[in-house]
Subunit: 229 residues, 2 copies
């Protein structure tokens, strides 16, 4: 957590966030009003936060990782903009360490070159759109970072990623998997494009597929930038 | 700067970095040994840092933004791995706020959906590879974040990006430009795909091109995640 994020939480009168994330900052909550709800209730939670702000309170909506990357920043702005300009609360987005950046740091240095970030969650995006993006990212030799790779209900998408990527990249292409990034349970596994879907992957995993130049050495996943070393 | 990065700098005996970045942390340098050189000397600087570490010193190599995104993390690992395993210094990559994340936060919430990050610098990458990636990112309807969009010498690449993107996206597609992200001189401009290359863009700029759903409202650039609000 950056000092700027901490200051924003400390100075806020109301904190809104997913219960799991509120638990992680419980030491900062004190006697603040808390708006916490379970997963899948993002709209209600952010709407309640915006209403508190309309009531004159200083509100912090927390998000894990970077709130600007698949986080709550967009929803808060969208809900705010539904009100007339004269009453709209001011919104500041405070960037954080993105999950993809934190996962990359654990794996070594896989993001030294151009990369694509794709979420496999089809709750809000048609699968055809996601599939096309995987195809284009694979064809463009991007390092590919996958958010939401798999859930109990959704298990085949990551197999489709593997099959599409194998059309363009060698089966030995390095793949890094990080579970529970930046949490105490954090774990990483290095595998390759042929075998990575045999590893444990769930909704708490982030998957990074190397490009044609990525290699593994000394337990590190490295995409060279191109320096002659 | 995260507390973890600050602690690493404070506890290091030697600090290596580009002079401009060393200036930004001069209050933390105290009597530490400093390895600072100008731009374009990344290999020498990182090699010197690795040699200090081989000599038993605790060394911090600093990078602006996230050292794992087009930063120094990969080069340090590559140089370290050239030594026999028995003497290799241990390397920890400490993730930071990436320039793309910081720029997105200033613009609003453009990275709420899948995005591609592309550097236009052709110093270490053939232009044909970069051009193919722009084409694939545009075809896949990714939000596209452009690092190193333009320099005094290199002015046509960003025009090529515009032309390629216009084959796939409407001329009114929002484009955000952030100059000197996270510095005191930070500035942002909102434009569109038709006109954005008429704006001032240089090597201190980062450009974010929206996808087909991105819009501008209330001075904010927003890519909706797909929530029904």
């Amino acid at each position: 957590m950056t000092p700027r994020a901490r200051e924003a939480i400390e100075s806020a009168q109301v904190i809104a966030g997913y219960d799991t994330y509120l638990e992680l900052i419980k030491d900062l909550l004190g006697k603040k009003k808390v708006i916490g709800t379970g997963m899948m209730q993002e709209i209600d939670r952010c709407q309640a936060a915006v209403e508190e702000a309309l009531g004159g309170y200083d509100v912090a909506v927390i998000s894990s990782g970077d709130p600007g990357v698949y986080g709550m920043a967009g929803l808060v702005l969208e809900l705010t903009l539904k009100y007339p300009e004269s009453v709209q609360p001011a919104v500041r987005v405070i960037p954080g360490i993105s999950a993809v950046g934190a996962a990359a740091a654990i794996l070594g240095a896989p993001l030294m070159h151009d990369f694509a970030v794709i979420s496999l969650s089809d709750l809000l995006t048609p699968w055809e759109v996601i599939e096309k993006r995987i195809e284009m990212a694979a064809a463009g030799d991007f390092v590919i970072a996958i958010y939401n790779p798999k859930s109990t209900r959704r298990t085949m998408q990551i197999e489709a990623v593997r099959e599409i990527a194998l059309k363009y990249r060698h089966s030995s292409t390095p793949v890094g998997i990080v579970h529970h990034v930046s949490r105490t349970k954090e774990q990483m596994v290095l595998s390759n494009l042929e075998n990575f879907t045999r590893e444990h992957i769930d909704m708490f995993s982030l998957v990074i597929i190397g490009n044609s130049q990525t290699y593994i050495a000394g337990g590190q996943m490295i995409t060279p930038r191109g320096y002659q070393v």
